[in-house]
């Protein structure tokens, strides 16, 4: 099971027939297992890592840290679910340290992101303070380096 997941995590586009070859399962078994993994929510979504800078698309990303004051009857989950519902929010995590929640926000411009934080996030009752870090450059995303790496200089024939 983990074997299939490891392959899919690296390459979600891999054909079930090839996964069968790689794992030694039959193609039918692979399909059944993948279906199970999808149905049970272990596989959440298939997603591409895109270098938007290369496309020339001007996205602006910011990491925003929030201090939270918990209300009487609600915990972190409630406020986190609420913030997660905004399309602008790409990820949200409960973190240890000086702040409580860390979000990644994507917008079309710095103004866009700044307004979003000021109007939608900072105004929430439980949000005590915000710190916004604009992303200047992304070097690695989801385990994928976004820079060119030097090719190996391995000899073509060696003992």
């Amino acid at each position: 099971m983990n074997e299939i997941l490891e392959i899919i995590e690296q390459d979600p586009k891999k054909d079930p027939s090839e996964i069968a070859l790689l794992t030694g399962y039959s193609e039918k078994e692979v399909k059944t297992r993948i279906k199970e993994l999808e149905d049970s929510g272990i596989i959440r979504k298939y997603k591409a890592v895109i270098d938007w800078d290369k496309v020339g698309e001007e996205y602006v990303y910011a990491i925003i840290e929030l201090k939270i004051t918990l209300g009487d009857r609600s915990g972190y989950d409630t406020i986190a679910h609420r913030i997660a519902s905004f399309n602008e929010v790409r990820s949200i995590r409960l973190i240890s340290g000086d702040h409580d929640l860390s979000l990644t926000v994507r917008g079309k411009s710095m103004k866009d992101v700044a307004f979003f934080v000021a109007e939608k996030i900072a105004t929430l009752d439980q949000v005590q303070s915000t710190v916004t870090h604009f992303v200047l450059k992304t070097y690695k995303e989801d385990g994928v380096p976004l820079f060119e790496q030097e090719k190996s200089k391995r000899l073509a024939i060696s003992p």
């Binding site: 090839e18 790689l22 794992t23 030694g24 391995r154 024939i157």
Partner: protein
């Protein structure tokens, strides 16, 4: 003009040139070759190991080390064998760090062999053993393993090769070039012959970590074999560290000290930067190593299935990163096949006879390449055959 060759020793003239050289020269200068001819991992050394090397340089660790190698490294090696195989080697006097396993093999042979002593080796095997035996003054006695027995050597074969002059056997499983492994009972059979004829075993187990669908048996873990084994291993294959050159030998103190004697007068010590990296690899490298092994295993399944589908009969290799298909069905010899394939399709493989006569009719195909490359190679071999 002076013929400089007259200065060469008689011994060096008896060492045959490496058969692999010819193929190396053929590939040189060709562009876009898909190579299945490589005897090393395609992975780059994991970053945490490279970083440890860099950090050691930053701190100014550029001196010689103890001839035996850094004690922390010897301890880490000793611990890993205790944990993996339950064999115990004292890091003080039973572990010698060498510049790759090739040096360790050379040291072992030079420490053991008297002129005229015979050393048995099973072929096909790694290209260096035979020349190393000759250079040490010994006589190589090759024993041929066969496809029928999945390239395992038997006690019977060894016994038939033993004479009064036999000093040692070189064992190398998991095997380069065949990918063959030995099961515990196969090795026990050999151990009986070793005791019976009072022999020593040099066991090169550098591919031990690359074993699939089964666990490797360390030869010295067999009953009574610790005192009769010089165990050779290294980090080249397991941690993708070939160019860093870290190998080691382990065995009875009386033998290791003799090897150390040669090592201290010739190599002095393995490079300190690489030793520092090796410590990191052994302490913290298990997870990345296992990930590489899983990846090799996937490639192995895909590639071996692919070869068999093309009619290139290939037994299931359970170790190292080589497949060893037969070219019998094509009517070509293995060297014809390799040369034609290279010229027509730009796919490089190494014909089996380079690794000993009994490798004739087979090809060594390394699957230490990315999946896409392996798939392209299979397609090109298919085009070649049609």
């Amino acid at each position: 003009m002076t013929d400089v060759k007259k200065f060469l020793s008689d011994k060096i003239k008896t060492v045959p040139p490496s058969g692999i050289r010819k193929y190396f020269d053929m590939v040189i200068g060709m562009d876009d070759v898909i190579s299945l001819g490589v005897g090393e991992p395609d992975f780059v050394t994991p970053w945490h190991i490279r970083e440890a090397c860099i950090y050691s340089l930053e701190k100014g660790h550029t001196s010689y080390t103890s001839n035996s190698g850094l004690i922390e490294l010897r301890e880490a090696i000793s611990d890993s064998f205790h944990n993996d195989y339950g064999v115990d080697y004292n890091p003080e006097d039973q572990v010698l760090v060498t510049t790759g396993v090739s040096e360790a093999a050379d040291l072992a042979l030079r420490a053991l062999v008297n002129p005229g002593d015979e050393v048995i080796l099973h072929e096909p095997c790694y290209v260096s053993y035979k020349p190393s035996i000759i250079l040490s003054g010994g006589t190589p006695v090759p024993v041929s393993t066969t496809r029928d027995n999945e390239f395992r050597v038997t006690g019977e074969q060894i016994e038939a090769a033993v004479t009064e002059r036999t000093k040692a056997i070189i064992l190398s499983y998991p095997n380069n070039p065949t990918g063959a492994v030995m099961q515990k009972q196969d090795l026990e059979e050999l151990a009986d012959v070793v005791v019976e004829h009072d022999l020593l075993v040099i066991s090169d187990e550098v591919y031990d970590k690359l074993t699939y669908n089964g666990k490797h048996t360390c030869f010295s873990s067999l009953n009574g074999m610790e005192e009769r084994t010089i165990l050779l291993n290294g980090l080249s294959k397991s941690h993708a560290m070939t160019g860093l050159r870290v190998g080691y030998a382990m065995g009875p103190p009386g033998l290791i000290s003799a090897m150390l004697l040669i090592h201290q007068y010739t190599m002095l010590c393995a490079p300190i930067t690489a030793q520092m990296g090796a410590i990191e690899a052994l302490r913290n490298g298990e997870a990345e190593m296992q990930a590489m092994v899983r990846e090799y295993n996937r490639r192995r399944r895909l590639f071996v299935t692919g070869l068999n589908r093309l009619g290139l009969d290939c037994f299931e290799p359970r170790g190292a990163f080589y497949a060893f298909p037969s070219v019998e069905s094509t009517g070509m010899t293995s060297s014809q096949f390799a040369e034609e394939l290279l010229h027509q399709q730009k796919v490089a493989v190494v014909p089996g006879e380079v690794f000993g006569q009994s490798g004739d009719g087979f090809l060594r195909c390394s699957y230490a390449s990315g999946l896409d490359e392996l798939k392209t190679a299979l397609e090109k071999i298919e085009d070649f055959l049609s």
